[in-house]
Amino acid sequence: MAEVHDRQALIVDSPTALEEILIEHPDYDVQLESLNQWQLSWRRFKRHRMALFGASLFFTMVILGILGPIVKPFDKNSLVPLDQVVNNGRPPMLFPYFHPFGETQELQYDVFTLVLNGIGLSLLISVGATVISTTIGTIVGAISGYVGGFLDTILMRTVDALLALPLIYLILIASEFLGSGNWFTVMLIFALLGWLQTSRLVRSVILSLREADYVDAARVAGVSEMRIIFRHLLPNAMSPIIVSASLSVAGFIITEAFVSFLGFGVDPSTPTLGNILSGAQNAIGAGNWWWAVFPGVAIVLIVLGINFMGDGLQDALDPRAKV
């Protein structure tokens, strides 16, 4: 029980604590803490140790991705002086040359610089693609689920059909045939093909919410359809959307890496995590392992962070869960 000072206003965080104090000291001025949904969610999230670990891992990578390119900008013309060139590039070393992640093989770039810049660009692409694809998926899913009928059939049939082919097939074909090259095009291709799953998810949530009493009440009160969808239904469907968006960032990180690894992604001279890896494959046989290992570790750390975080978010955002 909380330490209670005479006559001082007291705030407790659970109804049981409130009851206990009031039974013992009916004259105290005690209030039940009032928190909104987001504060409650944050409180639940904080208790989830793995989720906190995941979130800090992910945001560390985000900060590295933002600050890295500023501190150690990548310049594709900054070649190693000829007299310093060594076979296969230098292994990781701190002294006499500062290459904590070693050097690449032919042009002998510093892998550390490449990875820092790669994290930034890869995250930019994935987060951008997630924002766009989640928006599209939410709108399509919400309208499809709420309106129903013929429109719903057509939309969902199309989504089903597109999902029958592994998404990576479509992304690879689109990246190579419809032109790629700069990061913005790659991001758009990801976004325009990535909304399918979100739309299915949102539709299923909306379908179950549509029958809720508060929606009937809104309809009786003469609220417009659009307002019902965007002000009544979507805010209640927010938690699965947020969880799926966070996981989709991880998915896009891996997809970008793979697409660029195959040479169908961003222009090879710009460092994204996949581009760095695409050259590394041929250097492995010659003994240059560090070039392939460190960019991959960066990918795994980002994805792992997001996966842990997503699990915590799922529990934290569930309004029925206990505090």
Partner: protein, 365 residues
């Protein structure tokens, strides 16, 4: 039940139709098109280009081209006769029923624009190789997923469960192709235990499933199978490690759900042994959601196969797909996409039907 299956089969037709439109549409939208490879060549005259386009029907409007590619239209027909085959029956019917022989409906995917081989031949050669890789992985990964999933569920909240869960999380976060690279670095470049790529030993081995390979299999089965197994080891390990995580978590959840049911408590109260409770009572009921999940996961198997096949230069369908995209070989890309989509749709269908058969609580009219 039969009616349900027929209804589902008919329901798959629009899905496949939309996929075919999408695949065709992407290729249609791509700049350059099939003639891009010659247009820059100074030796190709405008007349030759026109003749080429006419020969392959590229001068037709896009819907005619699509209709012919699909196999509904007959390229020899005129006017409304395009829908009638040379045998005088609707063109979309199978060949032995008097239909045409062109288009994907008749398994004619055209010829590769890089080397002139019929696309169907390329797929027929590549598909068994992918099947060997994907099939081996699928079996191993299901076995491992069941062992780890059930163990984690039975020993819930113990150190074993935590270890499996953490392993699953980490493996789940690995990009398939990068795990492949790591395994090559460790087991091939550093330790030299396994070959870094390929499907057969280029000095002593034979091309897989060729006549010489079958001969070698009968003459020296140990070497031939061993050679295949050595080449399979790393790619299969990659695919299994990445894929086992998702299913293991799924099976754990299904098992925990099942162990919580009343019939499990009844069985325990009756004094049934713990082993029997887990395997006969709980696991059998946990199998239901798992069966469906396997069918839905097939796209991931194919996506994973693309990554592993490229990293390990496994000469299967995924590697061919990547090569063909790089070479702008439209017919092969479209052919492989269509075949994959059909397999995925069919397996989803199968999963639904199996679910309906296995689960007595569901009745389908």
């Amino acid at each position: 039940m039969t009616r349900y299956i027929i209804r589902r089969l008919i329901g798959a037709i629009p899905t496949l139709f939309v996929i075919s439109v999408v695949i065709y549409g992407i290729v249609l939208l791509s700049p350059g098109g099939p003639t891009a490879r010659f247009e820059q060549n100074p030796k190709i005259t405008a007349a030759a280009l026109e003749a080429f386009k006419h020969r392959w029907g590229l001068d037709q409007p896009w819907f005619v081209q699509y209709c012919r590619w699909l196999g509904v239209c007959n390229p020899d027909g005129q006017g409304l006769g395009v829908f009638i085959s040379n045998h005088g029956l609707p063109n979309f019917l199978p060949g032995f029923l008097g239909g045409g022989d062109n288009g994907i409906l008749h398994l004619d995917f055209g010829i590769s624009s890089t080397n002139g081989t019929p696309v169907m031949d390329i797929i027929a050669e590549r598909f068994p190789r992918t099947l060997v890789l994907a099939g081996t992985s699928l079996v191993l990964w299901m076995v491992l997923a069941f062992i780890t999933g059930v163990t984690a569920a039975v020993k819930r909240y113990t150190k074993v469960d935590t270890t499996i869960t953490v392993f699953n999380y980490v493996a789940y976060s690995f990009p398939t192709f990068w795990l492949g690279l790591l395994l090559i670095i460790i087991f091939s470049a550093q330790l030299g235990w396994f070959p870094a790529g390929g499907m057969w030993d280029s000095r002593n081995g034979q091309i897989f499933a060729s006549q010489a390979w079958w001969d070698a299999l009968f003459k020296d089965p140990l070497f031939t199978v061993g050679d295949l197994a050595r080449h399979l080891a790393l790619p299969v390990a990659t695919l299994v490690a990445v894929s086992v995580a998702g299913d293991s978590r799924f099976i754990r959840a299904a098992m925990i759900d099942s162990l919580r049911q009343d019939f499990v408590r009844t069985a325990r109260a009756k004094g049934v042994s713990e082993r029997r409770v887990v395997f006969r009572h709980a696991l059998r009921n946990a199998l239901l959601p798992v069966v469906t999940n396997i069918g839905l996961e097939l796209p991931f198997l194919f996506a994973g196969a693309i990554a592993t096949e490229t990293v390990f230069s496994w000469p299967g369908m995924g590697a061919q797909f990547i090569t063909s995209i790089g070479q702008y070989d439209y017919p092969v890309v479209m052919g492989i996409s269509v075949i994959t989509a059909v397999i995925v749709v069919a397996s989803n269908l199968l999963a639904d039907i199996v679910y309906a058969i296995v689960d007595p609580r569901i009745s389908y009219g």
